[in-house]
């Protein structure tokens, strides 16, 4: 489309709409933009310049990123770095709750029995429970279970006991949203196709493995992306369940860094971007699926 066409299309009212939308867009991006600009400025530069203006001359530096990286992860060979720890929690928890949610949704959709609505209601309500209301029993539960005793034979896992607790906890609390998302997807499946398989004598398990699961791929993308973001971004569970400093996840490390480098805004901003990098990447690459997951919450 040429510029001339563009101009023709614009009446004054439409121009106003575009201006408003652009300003709003700028508003949404402003914290990120000023954060990014601050992260590539020296201490002197960000104290003396306007936050959103890019640095010039010797005001530019990548030093904050090196420093933030050292705090958030350290060398890539360090497998107890905060980013690794977050991945150690987020990846298994996401895959587990996704798989479990898909199976549960199958049991609650394509097979019919009464009382289903009641069970579903418990799943839906489970999405909305404020974590504070389970926090005290949750810590008590893991104290009583004493997971580290069972893991004595595997030192690698025993030293990560807090993270394993996080994986199980996140999986359990992720099941409701995953189930609901999958169920809304399965509810639109063609009934007659499943009926035909049933008449052919396929068992329920077989129908799931051969028909439902392969057809679930698009929804798995939505669920995994959404759930990964949720688990990676979690702060509260990690705050109460992880005690060992070597098991700190990214959000906890970021909060600690912010507390110890109070005036070093450039390092803080760089660290914030490093902690957010996986979720930002996922969002930029799969924004569509993320939006769909978000919509499923409603």
């Amino acid at each position: 489309m040429s510029v001339a066409d563009d101009l023709r299309e614009l009446s004054l009212g439409r121009a106003a709409v575009y201006v408003v939308l652009l300003l709003v867009g700028a508003f949404y991006l402003a914290p990120l933009e000023s954060g990014l600009m601050t992260a590539i400025k020296t201490q002197d530069a960000f104290f003396s310049s306007t936050p959103f203006v890019p640095p010039f001359g010797d005001g530019f530096t990548l030093e904050p990123w090196y420093e933030a990286w050292a705090q958030m992860q350290g060398p890539l060979s360090d497998f107890s770095g905060a980013l690794y720890n977050s991945a150690f929690v987020a990846i298994p928890a996401t895959v587990l709750s996704g798989l479990i949610g898909s199976v549960a949704a199958y049991g609650l959709t394509n097979l019919k029995w009464r009382g289903q609505a009641g069970v579903l209601m418990l799943f839906v309500a489970g999405m909305f429970v404020p974590y504070q209301s389970v926090l005290v029993p949750l810590t008590r539960f893991w104290t009583i279970v004493g997971l580290q005793n069972y893991l004595a034979a595997v030192p690698f896992l025993q030293s990560r006991v807090g993270l394993i607790e996080l994986v199980v906890t996140h999986t359990a609390y992720g099941i409701p949203i995953c189930t609901i998302l999958f169920r809304s997807y399965y509810a639109n499946f063609d009934e007659s196709m499943l009926e035909a398989a049933r008449i052919d004598g396929a068992t329920f398990t077989r129908i799931y493995r051969r028909i439902i699961f392969p057809l679930s791929k698009p929804m798995f993308a939505v669920v995994l992306i959404y759930q990964f973001t949720q688990v990676w971004n979690d702060f509260l569970f990690a705050l109460v369940l992880v005690s060992s400093p070597t098991n700190e996840v990214a959000t906890i490390a970021l909060n600690k860094l912010q507390g110890s480098m109070v005036q070093q805004y450039n390092v803080q901003m760089a660290a914030a971007f490093i902690a957010a990098l996986p979720t930002l990447l996922v969002y930029v690459l799969f924004g569509e699926q993320f939006a769909e997951g978000v919509a499923g919450e409603s």
Binding site: V17, L21, G25, F27, Y28, L32, S34, T38, F46, T50, P51, I100, A104, Y106, G107, T109, L111, K112, W113, R114, G115, A117, V119, M121, L122, V124, A125, G126, F128, V129, P130, Q132, S133, L135, V136, P137, L138, R140, A172, I175, E191, N233, D234, F235, L236, L239, T251, N255, Q268, M269, A272, A276, L280, Y283, G287, E288, A291, E292, A295, G296
Partner: protein, 341 residues
């Protein structure tokens, strides 16, 4: 591709075409009306045994996940309620032999609790209303065949993909009194007198937090409302226009009432996020945000995990849960009534 999501959003949020199966299912579930529709060809007897066997055979699929989730969610809520009746504090374990409501009595006489409860309600209501209003306005603007709609939507929704910890750090920098963007901009446009130490001044603290949270979640409201707007048939817009309704009146009289379902589902999600705003406050202020910004979630954490007043913390947590229940109860009821479950 960009429109497929909206179709899905629509079929999730309203009684769109995709729900035909759903309605069918509920009828079968209800049990009373099994003899209608396709069911008529089978006898009631075989229908029932089929239902029973389907129930049994579906058990291995949903029961283990339901139990795992039930243990962590509902088991924990129940356990939390029991702990709130004990006197448990400090090291050691709770004594379940002596249960009473003393923690709740202590709570009612605790001025900190009253303040935190009030702040929680203010945060809940103001944040929700503000985000919905901004989201609706944006949705109406974006719905006017805007070019680059997808780009805009991506930008608006971006903050929601970020952790509260990340956004809190960004906003602490935005609100910096000397060199933060907010004050720099205010001074730049000649509004020096408005510049403030936003997150230290007790009179603006809560407002500043609400504003930042609105930034993070209004894009989400926009997405929900946009889907709602797209679900309204075009001829309704046309009809209102022919009737000579002014744009503003048309939206108020014709369009907004039809967005009730969108409003409701967005409001529920927002309120739940508001109850979870703990992370944001904790990163900014630690476990003691001070009386102007203390909410039940931060107070609960402080009592339980900083002061080891476990029973008292559990009692506050129970109140928080009841608050959440007040919010989601009606929502669940409506969902059930509409047959969306």
């Amino acid at each position: 591709m960009p429109h497929s999501i909206f179709r899905r959003l629509v079929s999730l949020g309203s009684d769109g075409d995709g729900d035909a199966n759903d309605a069918n299912e509920v009828r079968t579930d209800g049990g009373t009306a099994t003899a209608t529709g396709e069911g008529t060809t089978r006898s009631d007897q075989s229908d029932r045994s089929l239902l029973d066997s389907e129930f049994v055979r579906s058990l291995p699929f949903w029961l283990p996940p339901a139990l795992l989730m039930g243990l962590f969610v509902y088991g924990a809520i129940g356990w939390n309620a029991v702990i709130s009746l004990t006197e448990w504090s400090g090291f050691g374990s709770p004594d379940y032999g002596d249960l009473d409501f003393s923690m709740y009595e202590q709570m009612l006489g605790d001025p900190t609790f009253v303040v935190a409860a009030r702040n929680t309600v203010v945060l809940l209501v103001v944040f929700t209303v503000l985000s919905l209003a901004v989201g609706l306005l944006l949705a109406i603007l974006v719905d006017r065949d805007i070019r680059y709609e997808n780009t805009l939507r991506t930008i608006y929704l971006l903050p929601m993909s970020l952790s509260f910890v990340v956004t809190a750090i960004f906003w602490a920098w935005m609100y910096n009194p000397e060199i933060g963007l907010i004050n720099v901009v205010l001074r730049g446009v000649g509004l020096d007198f408005l510049a403030n130490d936003w997150i230290s001044d007790p009179s603006t603290k809560l407002g500043a937090v609400i504003f930042a949270l609105m930034w993070q979640f209004s894009g989400y409201c926009m997405v929900v409302y946009l889907a709602g707007l797209r679900a309204i048939p075009n001829d309704q817009f046309e009809a209102a226009r022919i009737d000579g309704a002014s744009t503003l009146r048309m939206y108020r009289r014709v369009i907004i009432p039809q967005l009730r379902a969108s409003t409701m589902s967005a409001a529920v999600v927002l309120m739940v996020f508001a109850l979870k705003a703990f992370d944001f406050l904790f990163v900014l202020f630690g476990d003691t945000p001070g009386p102007s910004t203390d909410i039940l979630a931060t107070m609960m954490f402080r009592e339980a995990f900083s002061s080891s007043n476990w029973a008292y913390g559990a009692a506050i947590a129970t109140v928080l849960f009841l608050l959440a229940l007040v919010v989601i109860g009606p929502y669940l009821y409506v969902q059930y009534q509409r047959g969306d479950l």
